[in-house]
């Protein structure tokens, strides 16, 4: 089940739990997503059979670009939306400026290239880490890491 059919773009999965129907929380989330220019697909809905039972919903958010996707997540997080179980990344904290903690997710880019009979240093080469900051994620060279930076660890929760 989704909003507009045939939607394409960036996606991420979120989950919601609670008395989502009676509280109109699900309606609020769907309306918010669509008002901000996104779309959604309901993947799995479990509605409790007894009055006290909570419901849970797994839904995919669809956005035309990173900016809209970030806005959707920011807007619906207060309504209880959390990354889908399979999308939770592990994180760790940088303990020293410019020092990459073990097990941090890194991408290693070439540092030198043999060109015109000499080895040239590659600007912006070297190891890069994935930093989570203020609701945004960016790759940052290890030399630019600062104590306290929250880094993604491993590859769980990443999409290519």
């Amino acid at each position: 089940m989704s909003g507009a059919s045939g939607s394409v773009g960036l996606t991420t999965t979120v989950e919601l739990k609670g008395h989502l129907i009676d509280s109109l929380t699900l309606s609020k989330v769907i309306d918010t997503v669509q008002q901000l220019g996104g779309d959604y697909r309901l993947n799995d809905i479990r509605v409790g059979s007894l009055k006290k039972d909570i419901s849970s919903i797994n839904m995919t958010l669809i956005a035309p670009d990173h900016q809209v996707l970030a806005k959707l997540l920011e807007a619906i997080t207060p309504y209880g939306a959390v990354p889908g179980d399979q999308d939770q990344p592990e994180t760790l904290t940088c303990e020293q400026d410019g020092v990459l903690p073990p097990s941090a997710y890194t991408v290693k880019l070439p540092q030198r290239v043999h060109h015109l009979e000499s080895w040239l240093p590659v600007e912006n080469g070297g190891s890069w880490a994935l930093v989570l900051e203020s609701g945004q994620a960016r790759m940052r060279p290890v030399s630019g890491l600062r104590k306290g930076d929250v880094l993604v660890s491993g590859t769980h929760g990443l999409q290519w």
């Binding site: 739990k17 609670g18 008395h19 009676d22 509280s23 109109l24 929380t25 309606s27 609020k28 009055k51 006290k52 909570i54 207060p78 309504y79 209880g80 959390v82």
Partner: protein, 288 residues
């Protein structure tokens, strides 16, 4: 227009360790150390200095209204120096039957109150439930039992994630209500369940979804809307014991609406507590 029947009033907290007393029981904390020492809500930011001696007299008047006019018993929580907001016992926990779900405060200034309250409830024989460290929940200030369900506020102080945990601890369905006005930062400042299925609320404090939830759950003849002017005087922050409703002075329209439905009304001047963003309901917690 329906009228309240004290005979049909069921305790909103179920059967607790205090139920054997056979009369309503309220937890209060004397304002020995009450003052406005910091600003964690818009009322505190705007307030002129608090008159601590006047606050003590106002608290005494509320105590008398609860015990002498409403006929309830009061249990006292020992005040603690350095914890001025401990007087607001509504936040201490959410009580249902023998379970007390203890608050986990968003603002660090109030977090030292948590072990004080947890220990008190444990000593009284309640099963104490604590929230995980990353989930904020501000007790009965943000969760109000109405009939067989709970109207619970979220966003300003309490996280919506606490609501599923509240259901797990109490088996009560929770209706999550977004609080859209930072001045009405707890649901008990803008909504109040009353005897016989009545409910006071401030429509302006909720968005269209919140208003729709209230209207879907509460019959129209039991719903008592409060004007914005009277809501700003904390009219919704009322204490209801049987057919008596106690709230801050200066809300004549609400008083008339309640009397027309058969409630007895007691208005108490709580000006010094309003400076801290609280009124009669905030100063009390139904525990039996």
């Amino acid at each position: 227009m329906s009228s309240v029947s004290a005979k049909t009033w069921v305790s909103p907290v179920g059967e607790t360790p205090f139920s054997k007393k056979g009369k309503p029981t309220i937890l209060m904390c004397p304002p020995t150390y009450f003052t406005v020492a910091y600003a964690i809500n818009p009322w505190m930011e705007e307030a002129p200095p608090c008159d601590e001696e006047l606050a003590k007299r106002q608290w005494d008047n509320l105590y008398k209204a609860i015990t002498e006019q409403a006929g309830a018993d009061v249990e006292l929580l020992e005040p603690v120096d350095g914890l001025p907001d401990l007087v607001f016992t509504a936040n201490a926990s959410f009580v249902h039957n023998n379970t007390a779900v203890i608050a986990h405060y968003k603002h660090p200034e109030r977090r030292p109150e948590e072990p004080v309250c947890a220990q008190w409830f444990e000593r009284q024989g309640f099963k104490v439930v604590r929230m995980p460290d990353h989930i904020f929940f501000e007790g009965a200030g943000d969760a109000l039992t109405w009939q067989d369900r709970v109207f619970a506020g979220y966003k300003t102080r309490t996280d919506i994630a606490s609501h599923s945990l509240l259901t797990a601890a109490t088996d009560l369905p929770v209706l999550s209500m977004e609080l859209i006005n930072p001045r009405y930062y707890h649901i008990d400042v803008c909504l109040c369940p009353l005897a016989d299925g009545h409910l006071i609320y401030s429509p302006d404090a909720f968005d269209e979804y919140g208003r729709a939830v209230v209207e879907a759950n509460v019959p129209a003849d039991k719903l008592i809307p409060v004007t914005p002017e009277e809501a700003a005087r904390f009219a919704c922050n009322a204490v209801n014991i049987n057919d008596t409703v106690i709230f801050n002075q200066g809300s004549s329209k609400l008083a008339e609406d309640l009397k027309a439905r058969g409630f007895k009304v007691v208005q108490v001047d709580l000006s010094e507590f309003l400076k801290a963003g609280g009124s009669s309901k905030c100063l009390t917690l139904r525990i039996g």
